[in-house]
């Protein structure tokens, strides 16, 4: 039962091999074994979305997976989005500019949910944005500024695509 499994994860472009017991949640492996503490643990029951990561191109809850299940997976965490405060991802910059965060606890999950959503739907309506983040709970903002931020990010990404500055 406490037998460990060797697991290889490709996280943010770097390969890591860790030894984990089967019960170890993927989020705890990222935070404790890889020291990537940007992914937050909120409810641990799949409700709050704070632990959202992108695995093999899709956003998933890292509290609802065991690390052993992610063997061989490509994982992006919030740490992959920016090298520093002057190099924010367009979604992160929009959250800053639109006051899309206050305490910041939900922000890593919110940003990754928004990023993977905008990759699939680059010009969303506000209703579609709300639907996309329905599984990410924020107790500070009331969501209005988060929706503003995601809309702004979409506009800026479209502008970049068209070679304009927005």
């Amino acid at each position: 039962m406490n037998q460990h499994h060797e697991v290889t994860l490709n996280v943010n472009g770097r390969e890591h091999t860790v030894s984990v017991p089967p019960r170890k949640l993927l989020v705890d492996c990222l935070r404790e074994d890889l020291r990537l503490t940007g992914t937050h643990v909120g409810c641990e029951q799949g409700v709050c979305g704070a632990c959202t990561i992108i695995m093999n191109g899709q956003n998933v809850r890292s509290c609802l997976m065991f690390a052993v299940q992610a063997d061989g997976a490509n994982i992006e965490t919030i740490e992959s989005l920016a090298s520093g405060p002057d190099d924010l991802h367009v979604v992160q910059q929009a959250f800053v500019d639109c006051h899309g965060l206050q305490c910041g606890f939900c922000t890593p999950g919110m940003v990754l949910a928004a990023k993977s959503f905008l990759e699939q739907n680059p010009s969303p309506t506000d209703d579609e944005i709300r639907e996309a983040i329905a599984g990410n709970i924020c107790r500070c903002t009331g969501y209005t500024f988060i929706v503003d931020a995601i809309r702004t990010a979409a506009e800026r990404m479209a502008g970049e695509e068209a070679g304009q500055h927005v």
Binding site: N2, L25, T52, N59, L64, M65, V68, Q69, E131, A134
Partner: protein, 287 residues
């Protein structure tokens, strides 16, 4: 909290799963998408000694059309069902319902077989399979058997699956876009489980073949609104009849909802959703 310790197996074939289940019996749980089982383990409401992970069983992830049926493998994710062109053509009611399951992150992991085996009475897929009389195919030590969906659900979070069996695929009648269809649900927030859900399939030719009305979220399992189906069985379609049928759905919901503290409210919501579902389905018959 953290889940209790368990032994982990990751088989790659159905046969291997069946022999692991035979070996470990009631101590084992099957891990599909994990969107219901892992929260239960994290909350320590479930503490299986053995987990058999189905995510490596490639033969269980498929969407096929075979004869007059649409076949969905147990490990097919909700996202795939919701976005599949084949599902939309062969069984649009299923595609519409799958898009309403949970949130995007849940649909990326959650599976057909997991949702049905979990048997939450308020979940979308139990309601759709019951409405469409889908066949649920399970594998066990004695081979395979097929169970009609209305007989598969035995109560709250309970099915007729034996501890030695696993759900391998679901076969839906591929009616195509001929009949009108509609899935309406009400929940307090997008992505939550439905307080009430109503699924409707309305034959395009005005006959009664393929006519089906199913309700989820009220009572211990989804059910067919047979009183309302009876009212529409002779093929007549008019506003008054739809109004009566919607009231009949509401009345039956009040019976099934015995024990819900908000029973009257649920009955009212069921009737309202049925009225809307009839209107959408009728529009889609193109008549």
């Amino acid at each position: 909290m953290k889940p209790p310790p368990f032994e982990y197996f990751s088989p790659t074939s159905v046969d291997e799963c069946v022999s692991l289940l035979a070996e470990h019996g009631e101590d084992a749980k099957l891990l599909a998408g994990g969107q219901s089982l892992v929260p239960l383990m994290n909350l320590r409401l479930a503490a299986p000694e053995v987990l058999i992970d189905l995510n490596g069983v490639a033969e269980l992830a498929r969407i096929d059309r075979s004869g007059g049926q649409l076949v969905i493998g147990a490990m097919t994710r909700h996202r795939e069902v919701a976005s599949s062109e084949l599902v939309r053509e062969a069984c649009p009611l299923l595609a519409e319902a799958a898009a309403l399951i949970g949130y995007p992150a849940i649909r990326n992991r959650g599976t057909m077989g997991g949702s049905l085996s979990h048997a939450d009475p308020a979940a979308e897929l139990p309601c759709v399979t019951t409405t469409l009389d889908a066949e649920i195919v399970v594998a066990g030590p004695g081979g395979r058997r097929s169970i009609p969906a209305p007989d598969f659900f035995a109560g709250h979070f309970t099915t007729v699956l034996e501890p030695s069996e696993l759900l391998i695929e679901v076969r839906f009648p591929a009616h195509g876009a001929g009949p009108g269809w509609s899935f309406h649900e009400f929940s307090r927030k997008s992505g939550d489980f439905a307080l009430v859900a109503v699924a409707v399939q309305l034959p395009g030719d005005g006959g009664s073949t393929g006519l089906a009305i199913g309700v989820g979220g009220v009572g211990d399992r989804p059910w067919r609104a047979d009183a309302a189906e009876g009212l529409l069985a002779d093929g007549r379609r008019n506003d008054e009849l739809f109004q009566q049928a919607a009231e009949a759905v509401g009345a039956q919901a009040r019976e099934h909802g015995e024990g819900h503290s908000d029973n009257d409210y649920r009955g009212h919501v069921a009737a309202t959703l049925a009225r809307r579902a009839f209107a959408t389905a009728l529009e889609r018959t193109g008549r």
